[in-house]
């Protein structure tokens, strides 16, 4: 994984961990295709609106805006099923000062904030 991609993915892992501190967040590499999955260990949270809102924001601002199209988001609730050794783990790299995205759990509980974000999500421009 290139250094700039590591920096972006690490930032994503930290951002998710900040909002959901109890989650295990890690990155799995699909070596056959050169793709990466940011995985969490909770299926219910993964399918929740607030989590997917965060994912969409991170995807837009950190991935697409930086021309990154090989990093995806998923869940794995059976740890022994992880095929590869996780590349990045929130617990190893956690450094709060590194955060550059201001996302909090409270912010995403406020539907008006997510609505404002949608208006700001000018992907079609």
């Amino acid at each position: 994984m290139a250094n700039d991609l590591i920096a972006v993915v690490t930032e994503i892992v930290h951002a998710i961990s900040r909002v959901y501190p109890s989650l295990e967040v890690y990155v799995e590499e699909t070596k056959e295709t050169g793709e990466y999955f940011v995985l969490i260990d909770d299926k219910d949270i993964y399918y929740s609106g607030p989590f997917q809102s965060i994912v969409m924001r991170l995807t837009k601002e950190l991935l697409w805006d930086n021309g990154i199209y090989n990093v995806y988001f998923g869940y794995e609730d059976i740890p022994e099923a992880i095929t590869y050794e996780p590349l990045i783990s929130a617990s190893v790299y956690y450094m709060e000062d590194d955060f550059t995205i201001d996302i909090s759990a409270e912010q995403f509980k406020d539907s008006s904030v997510t609505h404002d974000y949608l208006l700001d999500l000018s992907m079609a421009a």
Binding site: F37, L118, L121
Partner: protein, 133 residues
């Protein structure tokens, strides 16, 4: 055969496996393909120019309809139809279907009918978003 028909047939196939409690791992990848085909059919019906889109996002050499750009292509197009954040989030869950396909087709992971039912619900949600717009 139209892609939308293929999508529906893949959904039917997965439903069959769930009911029969057989072949669940073998057909798991069909869940992803059902969504992929529905999205591709939708974008083509809408006259979406994928190559132009790839050029716009500075990725002209990317393969059309690759998973990496598919989600953005769909979101970009639906933004012109006032896509809301909840629906955008549902579209995002296609990543998990893609991972499941890789696990089912290329690795030793096995899936049962409960797993397939869960993924099928997710697929129907995504296809439901497409149908809504």
């Amino acid at each position: 055969m139209e892609l939308k028909t293929k999508s529906n047939e893949n959904i039917d196939l997965v439903e069959y496996a769930i009911l029969a409690k057989k072949y669940c791992t073998s057909v798991a990848g069909r869940v992803y393909y059902a969504v992929f085909q529905a999205i591709k059919h939708f974008l083509e019906q809408e006259g979406f120019d994928y190559q132009r889109f790839l050029t716009k996002i500075h990725e002209p050499d990317q393969k059309e309809y690759s998973h990496g750009t598919l989600k953005r292509a769909l979101c970009d197009h639906l933004m012109t139809k006032k896509l809301n954040l909840g629906d955008a989030g549902k579209i995002g869950t296609i990543d998990q279907l893609y991972r499941m396909r890789i696990e089912a087709d290329y690795r030793k992971r096995e899936y049962n009918e409960a797993d397939l039912s869960s993924y099928l619900r997710s697929a129907r949600q995504i296809i439901g978003v497409i149908d809504k717009y």
